[in-house]
Amino acid sequence: MELVVPAGSRGALHSAIEAGADVVYLGLRDETNARHFPGLNFSAHELPATVEHAHRMGCKVYLAINTYSRAGEWKRWEAAVGAAAESRVDALIAADMAVLDHASRTYPDLRLHLSVQASATNWRALRFYRDNFGIQRAVLPRVLSMTQVERLAERDVVPLEVFGFGGLCIMAEGRCLFSSYACGRSPNNYGACSPAEAVEWRQDGDVMETRVGGVLVDRFGDNDAAGYPTLCKGRYQVRGSRVHAFEEPVSLNSLELLPQLAKIGIHAIKLEGRQRSPAYVSRMTRIWRAAIDAVLANPDKFAVHRLWGEGLSELAEGQQTVLGAYARVWQ
């Protein structure tokens, strides 16, 4: 079972490798990936040396080119795929059929993984991408229950990668337009949800307001921690009350499911957070490395170590973690 760790910067990449990542995944410094935030990611120029360094350290590199190419701007996506192939990355993570088709025909030796942004949530969708574009792995969206993940694994259409820890998308990935509805830019059309330039923190007396594209997401008192605003974690007026209509600011943590995930043959665990600091990546990776090693050594005796649980909770949004859609009751 592979541990796939985010590296949004050179520092995070070193931390991830040192802390025991089997794979680091990264993006280029443009709209071709779904973490298009200022100061993050790598230039095409830096890529070959970065990949070579990781390989020397025994770590694989996946490159995310997982946004949808925009009308008239195909050259940018084409160049990104070319950079991936030339840098000898170990796999390309893609969602757009245009990118998958181009990569599979132009670089037949380049391994393709289906990005979570493609929103493939069932065996037929997986089969479609396998048969038409030759994908060799798929990352499952965070909308499936554990039973549904198990059924998909039994179908054995392609090897599966699932999310272990990090930001929790409440909506099916690749199918959420909340961000563009409020500010014009979304993961699909721009490569970012709640882009920094659309986000505002406004102090109004004792109250801190967070906004995206001018839309009020939440108001916080002195004692509340105001997190990075995404519309799905805001508080709204519904049926006369102010509530988290979609979800509270929490993170996904599936550590306790690890033995089950190993048993059903999940090939890789993905950690989220290319926007995170090297220290965050290091801590998260160490915990998951230890947990995966423990499961592989003795799956029947696996128990979540108290320090692992506490460590991940400290890293989590609002210091809270949930199982998300893996647990049917969450739905």
Partner: protein, 296 residues
């Protein structure tokens, strides 16, 4: 320019659905999309009922398309989609790649719905070759982008029809979680079909009183109603062949008549009053979806 009515996105009961389609049969609508696209638990009508409505509409000269579920998770849902895709009477609109898989395998023509992420000419051309004869662009796509994509595929000689989501609340997201049930303190498995009490969804507004979202089960829609109908000339210039109206409980049939008249007389439509509904058109202009610019 033809007019289409999209699938009913809300949970209406059997009588309301039957009345709606009986009324629609009397309008000059050209194309009608049928079926449940949001939640597989909703079954006011069974598959044979939908087929029967379809035949009734065909008898009145309408083209009928069966629209498929958008978020497809359970094995039973995959089976349900295969059944719809393999029907022998009507064309199918694919809203998920699961449906694409069946349709492409069967070698039949199909419509690519807003649930498919078709954002560029390359993807569009690929799907055109696989049998897609009509494309409904993602609702967040601007008129300019649609025009560029149409130009590019037309140059390659394989242009599908283009249908614009031109009126109604826009689907913005899908989740494993049911938000209507959540607002009632219920989980999805014991929802009690509370969404049936909200024939045009449940409002979710910001804390400063701005309508923002409409909760419709596992789907979240815009609070504002997109209205691109007055922009039909611009739409036509961008390559749009069909305007889609997404059903609301009241006024859909009336709107079809007004719009048909406007198109036939080549005028800007005087739309009937749409009470208590904010309108928007920002996406068309490449802006935030909730914005309302110029006329429209």
């Amino acid at each position: 320019m033809r007019l289409a009515v999209g699938p009913v996105l809300y949970f209406w009961d059997r009588e309301q659905l039957l009345d709606f389609y009986r009324d629609l049969a009397e309008t000059p609508v050209d194309i009608v999309y049928l079926g449940e696209t949001v939640c597989s638990k909703r079954r006011s009508l069974r598959f044979p009922d939908w087929l029967e409505i379809g035949r009734m509409l065909v008898d009145r000269g309408k083209q009928v398309v069966l629209s498929t579920l958008t978020l497809v998770e359970a094995e039973s849902e995959v089976g349900q989609i295969a059944r719809v895709c393999r029907n022998r009477d009507f064309m199918v609109e694919a809203n998920d790649v699961a449906a694409l898989d069946v349709l492409v395998e069967s070698g039949v023509s199909f419509v690519g719905g807003i649930g498919l992420n078709i954002y560029n000419a390359r993807t569009l051309s690929w799907l055109r070759r696989a049998g897609m004869v009509r494309w409904v662009p993602p609702v967040e796509m601007s008129g300019e982008q649609i025009g560029m994509i149409v130009d590019e595929v037309t140059a390659s000689g394989a242009e599908p029809e283009v249908e614009l989501f031109a009126f109604g609340r826009m689907p913005l997201a899908y989740s494993a979680r049911c938000f209507t049930a959540r607002a009632h303190g219920l989980g999805k498995d014991e929802c009690g079909f509370v969404c049936g009490n909200y024939p045009e969804g449940m409002a979710a507004g910001t804390q400063d009183g701005r309508p923002l979202f409409t909760l419709n089960g596992i789907q979240t829609q815009s609070a504002a109603v997109v209205n691109l109908l007055p922009l039909w000339r611009e739409a036509a210039e961008s390559g749009v062949d069909i305007l889609r109206l997404s059903p609301l409980p009241q006024g859909t049939a009336e709107l079809i008549r007004y719009m048909r008249e406007a198109l036939d007389s080549e005028s800007t439509p005087e739309l009937p009053d749409i009470p208590d509904k904010a309108l928007c058109n920002g996406y068309w202009y490449g802006r935030a979806g909730l914005e309302s610019l110029g006329r429209g």
